[in-house]
């Protein structure tokens, strides 16, 4: 019917591309992090990275951001998805509005929330209008790390909940209705149906969304720079600083490997935690 080689020919461009620009660079980055210019194996770049005064802060900030943003937006998106599914009219319209942030980049989201939180911004104007404050507050000043953190969490939740929503809504569309009907026949309440049927059936989507979001949350960069400048270092902004300002590609590569290791570890944990038993797949 068709030559045996046809599927391979069709896959060739994509495979070549991924090997050349995905697998190969990752071996390069490991090489860069572990060897000196003369090609000797060394751990000094990791040492330099870990003993730099910003390392622990950047690590802590990144983890705190992931912990503050991801669980919150998973629950929010799950709630929004059930709201959407409960709608009789206007479902598509509401879904369109809720997915608007999907097209907005992290840098743009940072700038949008900068308009709210900056010194002459809308939050200060509102508080002033309400008579709460006399003078504008420097929410994003270096002495207010707490509000910088909060602004970043809000901006990230605002921007990236949309993608989780899209994944969960399309996942819910794949669940056969017979399961819910059966549960109803056996007298399960709405809440029971949600916990016992919908959630377990939604596991593959939850897994996809979790992995995607956790990886991206560890990569958080432009939002942080837009809102906090250098006041709140995170792992990715440190990579950028080492690569771009300090011109030390080796230490930047060491940072990259750390982010990479964390990402892979998280992916494996999520895959295991939200695994679907073989016999239970739809």
């Amino acid at each position: 019917m068709y030559p045996k080689s046809l599927p391979y020919l069709l896959l060739l461009p994509a495979t070549l591309f991924l090997v050349l620009f995905f697998l190969y660079p990752f071996t390069l980055v490991a090489w860069q992090a572990f060897t000196t210019d003369t090609g000797d194996f060394t751990g000094e770049f990791f040492q330099e990275m870990a003993t730099h005064w910003k390392f622990n802060t950047a690590m802590l900030n990144t983890f705190l951001l992931v912990l503050a943003v991801v669980p919150f937006q998973m629950v929010l998106a799950l709630y929004m998805a059930t709201l959407v599914n409960g709608m009789t009219r206007g479902r598509d319209f509401i879904l369109y509005i809720w997915t608007i942030p999907l097209g907005i980049s992290d840098l743009a989201a940072g700038l949008i929330w900068l308009a709210i939180f900056e010194q002459s911004g809308f939050l200060n104007s509102m508080l002033h209008g309400l008579g709460v404050i006399e003078q504008p507050v420097g929410f994003l000043g270096y002495q207010n790390k707490g509000t910088i953190f909060l602004a970043i969490v809000l901006a990230e939740t605002w921007r990236a909940t949309a993608i989780v929503l899209v994944i969960l809504v399309s996942g819910m569309g794949l669940i056969p209705k017979e399961y819910a009907e059966a549960a109803e026949v056996f007298g399960a309440s709405r809440w029971q149906r949600f916990i016992r049927v919908t959630l377990p059936m939604l596991k593959p989507s939850l897994q996809t969304a979790m992995i995607l979001r956790v990886i991206l949350a560890f990569e958080v960069f432009a939002v942080v720079v837009a809102l906090g400048g250098t006041n709140l270092p995170v792992l990715m902004s440190e990579v950028f600083t080492w690569q771009y300002e300090l011109r030390d590609a080796n230490v930047a590569a060491a940072y990259a490997l750390v982010i990479l290791a964390i990402s892979i570890a998280c992916t494996l944990v999520i895959m295991w935690a939200l695994r679907v038993p073989k016999g239970a797949r739809v």
Binding site: F21, G86, L111, I116, W191
Partner: protein
């Protein structure tokens, strides 16, 4: 699509909300609140963009702009902005073309053939999701200097294609899978060869979907900032240009820049909204 969402509606019609009239109000209230949560920040950016530079830096701010294009004009005439916009368009267009050219044939192969190595290829594609891809820019920066691709449109587009390619493969895979093989077979029996059947029967059917995934690739590239900032110096894209100016640029420049960054992305998402959910439905698998 509409049928499958219908089934879900029955199933999840509100574990959280009952059916009484009182519940209806709460339900509507929450939905409206969530819409405001999404829309108000965008509106505030629009207010800042359409205010004069003096108003943007003034305090307190008003919630209605005086519709003044001075900020936007200042931004567009600012040294380097035009060039950055042009670079962004070039990189995104190239990314779009590359990811479809490499992705669509792979999607077709995955949907139509059974062959050894199919599983491994899918793993390779899915693996990209577990890696922070923008970090690829670091080793590539070194490699590009060696091969003469440093600070080039093509070099950046290649990195962006790595970001967009997995989506292109999965989306086209789902598109082709949605078209019954019988249609193609009918064309073969009527005397078309494989290529002709593809051109005359399959291509017209999948073209809108392929356009959607091309647009998606465009947006991915348009929005990307880290790799763009690492890999370009002279040929900065708009996000990289804005990032560089964050610590020094005046507020009205930042906000007008943000608006210019957001606007095309919004239009594109509007165009592909029909495909968003079917795209992700299959990408879960």
């Amino acid at each position: 699509m509409s049928q499958s969402t219908q089934t879900a509606k029955l199933m999840v019609d509100g574990p959280v909300h009952g059916r009484g009239p009182w519940h209806r109000y709460v339900f509507t209230g929450i939905v409206v609140l969530l819409c405001l949560w999404v829309l108000v920040p965008i509106y505030l950016l629009v207010v800042n963009t359409l205010s004069s530079p003096a108003d943007v830096n003034a305090f307190p701010k008003r919630l209605v702009p005086d519709v003044n294009t001075e900020s936007v004009r200042f931004f567009l005439n600012f040294a380097g902005v035009g060039q950055a916009l042009w670079s962004s368009v070039k990189v995104a267009t190239l990314t779009m073309i590359l990811s479809i050219l490499a992705g669509a044939p792979a999607g077709y192969a995955l949907s139509r053939f059974d062959f050894r190595g199919k599983g491994s290829f899918r793993v390779l594609v899915l693996m990209t999701r577990a890696f922070p891809l923008p970090l690829l820019a670091l080793p590539l920066a070194v490699m590009y200097i060696r091969v003469g691709l440093d600070d080039s449109i093509l070099g950046l587009a290649l990195v962006h294609t790595t970001l967009a390619l997995p989506f292109a493969v999965l989306i086209t895979y789902s598109l082709f899978s949605g078209i019954p093989i019988e249609l193609e077979e009918a064309a073969w029996t009527l005397g078309c060869n494989r290529l002709e059947a593809f051109q005359k029967v399959i291509l017209p059917l999948v073209l809108p979907g392929i356009t959607a995934s091309a647009i998606f690739a465009f947006v991915i590239s348009w929005n990307e900032v880290f790799a763009a900032a690492v890999l370009t110096i002279e040929n900065r894209t708009l996000p990289a240009f804005l990032l560089q100016g964050l610590s020094v640029a005046p507020l009205h420049l930042k906000f007008a820049g943000g608006a210019v960054l957001v606007l095309p992305a919004l239009i594109f998402i509007f165009l592909v909204r029909k495909y968003l959910f079917s795209m992700w439905g299959i990408a879960n698998r």
